[in-house]
Symmetry: D2
């Protein structure tokens, strides 16, 4: 049966967005790519640096408050509704709360066919890519590399440390296509 949602979970600068765009290029049908970055961008500018919203410490630690959580819960429900209305969706996520974050998504996506994908990248390599991007608070990549995978269960894991985004996307796509045929 056809997969309806692909959830990519990984730390900052692990390569999720690149894999999402490659998935859109290699999968036969059109898929929407939505993720934490889109949600954060949709929030009021003031919430992007506030106590109730998102706090970004100088060392790259990210803390989110109750106002963020509340908008996020509605966002997750909405993404699930898009999938129920027929859109195929690649969700590009950072499970700051590990298994608890997965639980929230799992509950909202109930009844949908979901492929859970862990996107791993060695902390040192992710940190180097963060430097190469130059537009992120230094420290996020290293901090999140392990953290976001704690207690999370996957159908499939890819590792961008030594594998290109396009190759990772092909591995995921092969699983999607096999599921459809199988």
């Amino acid at each position: 049966m056809a997969t309806q949602v692909i959830v990519l979970n990984g730390g900052s600068s692990s390569g999720k967005s690149g894999i999402a765009r490659c998935l859109q290029a290699v999968l036969p049908d059109p898929w929407l790519a939505l993720g934490t970055d889109v949600l954060v961008e949709a929030m009021p500018a003031a919430m992007r640096s506030s106590e109730g919203g998102i706090e970004l410490a100088p060392d790259g630690e990210v803390t989110v408050g109750p106002e963020f959580r509340s908008l996020e819960a509605a966002w997750i429900d909405g993404v699930a509704a898009m999938a129920r209305s027929g859109a195929r969706i690649v969700v590009d996520e950072v499970f700051l709360g590990g298994s608890e974050s997965q639980r929230r998504w799992r509950q909202a996506l109930d009844g949908l066919r979901v492929l859970w994908v862990g996107v791993r990248c060695e902390a040192a390599v992710a940190a180097g890519r963060e430097t190469a991007r130059g537009d992120r608070v230094p420290g996020m990549a290293a901090r999140q590399a392990e953290l976001v995978h704690r207690g999370v269960h996957y159908d499939l894991e890819v590792d961008t440390t030594r594998t290109e985004s396009l190759e990772c996307a092909r591995i995921i796509a092969a699983r999607i296509i096999a599921a459809r045929v199988g």
Copy 2:
């Protein structure tokens, strides 16, 4: 009763996004700002210039195909679901199909308290702002200035030709706050 969704409809470079950001700044609660640009950005890169997706003629004419319409329909359902789950949402839209576009949104938003806002801007002024932005296909602003309002019904209209975005946002916010109290 409290408004749950504000729909801003206007042509390209009419100032919708600026008003949306100002609304987020002046309204007392946190609102999400989502719009056509976010949807287009979430689509596969290949669809952003294809027959089934979005076609942008050199003169600024925008045509959308069946694959776009299909993803858009699911997107609209999802945005409605976010509002039903408690998120306040400013929708920043370009009703290329005029009244028919409004009908699609109205149907999806059924049961929610919606404020329909027309964002007008004289074609020549919008075209000048398009030049000042420098990142849009020239011609879209002038083409869409009237087109997107055809047959559309509003609760409120603002005109950015001679009124600043922040002032327009304050007019809209006053209506929202009055509705809550009234």
Copy 3:
């Protein structure tokens, strides 16, 4: 005689960049648009928030250190050299030091035909546009509105408070074309 450099000086969110892009659209020859933003973007990420580089206080105050000044001096010389080599250049600047900033540019541009243009915008309006942009530290626009013009001498002043960028560009372009003919 033909103008070789147009220096636009104004506070943050006063509309300089929009005028620069409109000038590129309305002037008959191709002009390069270069400005403080380009210089800041070219600097090491670490200098964009450091003592020797640029410090941005939460209230929008901008302070620059000796390392910034040193790279900036070389940048100004380079922009002048581009003009001497035949490129027409619109410089989009924020004279944080008022007349002292102008003196630095004037010295580097010595021997070139320069049009000095003041880009004014009432503080409250510039602050509103800063909110509408949503990507700047709030407070910069209001703070810089008067500050950057202190002791600066202009050939021409435009005011974006109630005049569109394109119209301001046309006023400047008319002066450029008159100078060429005259």
Copy 4:
């Protein structure tokens, strides 16, 4: 003696910009990073898709016209002048004309201590990264992978196919530091 300019030459999506940002992070002094992208962005919007300016064919072929060449020549002189005025500069370039492009830069940089660095990446890998970025015309990466190196002489070559940007930057930085001491 201390290197004054590092010229990174490589095809689209070969990783030059990432290496430039990493160089800024690992080198002890502040370096400016300037490149073709900055020049193109500074040009009039109309030139970014015109006969005299830049033409981008649907298959990723880039052709530049006489107006582009003329502004580029002045730009190169200006970058050289910045280095002569004391700024250390990383130039991030795409030598579409191979050895002829290098000749132009070599002439302008005459008398300065320059490190010429070739940034290689296998065409298939660069094409995959182009897909992962999603914001470039597909085809440029593969087309330029070999082309830009034709007849070009380097002091040092790095290959991002299997080496991270940060690691490449460290190799280059080691050479810079050795030159200073030596």
